[in-house]
């Protein structure tokens, strides 16, 4: 038995050690004890491996969440600011129409001013927020960009429609309803995308 001999530290002759270990294993209680010891070692090793893997996942989750928090959640306000800008400008257009005596549509200069404010807000959102979101996920940036662009297009249409020959109550109600519908769609779309992109623990 050269294999045993190489790891033996006892001075007892090898056959005697073997016989002793065999006699230990031959007793039922000793056999059960050694099985329990083996099982316990196995469980300890598995637990250790599992906790290492869990620690690794936890670190990865924390890292991903920190990026998500800094690059996406921090930017959420920018998406709402864009919708707020659209709201303020549509109110300005209604106000301009109401203040005309006799009642008339807002002037072309007023519509251009509102369109300009909307354009500036859109550019700010694209340049400052969407570009940063791409640091977290390019796909998320592309999807958010599509929703922002669609909203920008719809608001541009709504603002341009104010150059009517006459502003009627029906027209004002339709414009308001269109504004609400597109804004709700925009906000829902943005928040569903942001919620779904949140890193999750495995």
């Amino acid at each position: 038995m050269p294999k045993f001999a190489s790891i033996s530290v006892s001075s007892a002759p090898i056959p005697a050690q073997l016989a002793a270990s065999q006699s230990i294993l031959n007793t039922p209680s000793a056999f059960v004890a050694s099985l329990a010891l083996g099982y316990s070692i196995l469980v300890t090793v598995l637990n250790h491996l599992q906790s290492k893997s869990r620690l690794k996942e936890e670190r990865a989750y924390k890292r991903d969440y920190a990026f998500y928090d800094a690059l996406v959640l921090h930017g959420c306000r920018g998406f709402l600011d864009f919708a707020s800008c659209a709201h303020i400008e549509i109110q300005n257009l209604f106000q301009a129409a109401r203040s005309n005596q006799p009642p008339a549509p807002p002037s072309r200069a007023q519509i251009e001013k509102s369109l300009s404010a909307l354009y500036q807000a859109n550019s700010k959102l694209e340049d400052e927020i969407l570009l940063v979101v791409s640091g977290f996920s390019r796909e998320l940036k592309i999807e958010l960009g599509k929703i922002v662009e669609a909203y920008y297009d719809q608001m541009t249409k709504i603002f341009s429609d104010f150059s009517q020959p006459k502003i009627t109550i029906e027209f004002a109600s339709k414009q308001h309803a269109e504004y609400i519908r597109h804004t709700e769609k925009y906000i829902d779309g943005i928040f569903v995308l942001i919620r779904d992109a949140c890193p999750t623990k495995k």
Binding site: R108, I111, E112, L115, S116, Y119, N122, S123, E126, L131, S134, R138, K141, I142, E149, Y152, D153, T156, K157, S160, D161, S163
Partner: protein, 115 residues
């Protein structure tokens, strides 16, 4: 001799705003079908003048990108302004340099991010 495109020939009735990337791409196709292919005109020796009628209030960035994004990216800002002249309201004309920069920025973002 410059090629002149009167956009009024292609506008839908009561159209007051040129809006949306899809719409810009659709106009690009309409113009190509009428013999004004932007992809060909950008390579032509002569200048192209696009006349947008006064009743059009605005041309937004996404429409411009649908119509001219590739031409801007191929020609660069200076090359585009030499090759294409857009005659429209002051409001629209003032915005063109920003739109050109947006088209170039999109190209560089695509190069950097692969997106």
């Amino acid at each position: 001799m410059p090629t002149t495109i009167e956009l009024s020939r292609f506008l839908a009735s009561n159209e007051k705003a040129l809006v949306g990337r899809d719409n810009g791409e659709s106009y690009k196709k309409k113009l190509a079908a009428a013999g004004y292919d932007i992809d060909v005109l950008e390579k032509a020796a002569d200048k192209t003048v696009l006349i947008i009628p006064a009743e059009i209030l605005t041309m937004n960035k996404s429409f411009f990108l649908g119509l001219f994004e590739l031409a801007v990216q191929h020609l660069g800002a200076a090359g585009f302004s030499q090759k294409f002249e857009i005659r429209a309201s002051d409001y629209i004309v003032e915005k063109i340099p920003d739109y050109v920069q947006a088209a170039l920025l999109r190209a560089s973002q695509r190069d950097i991010l692969g997106a």
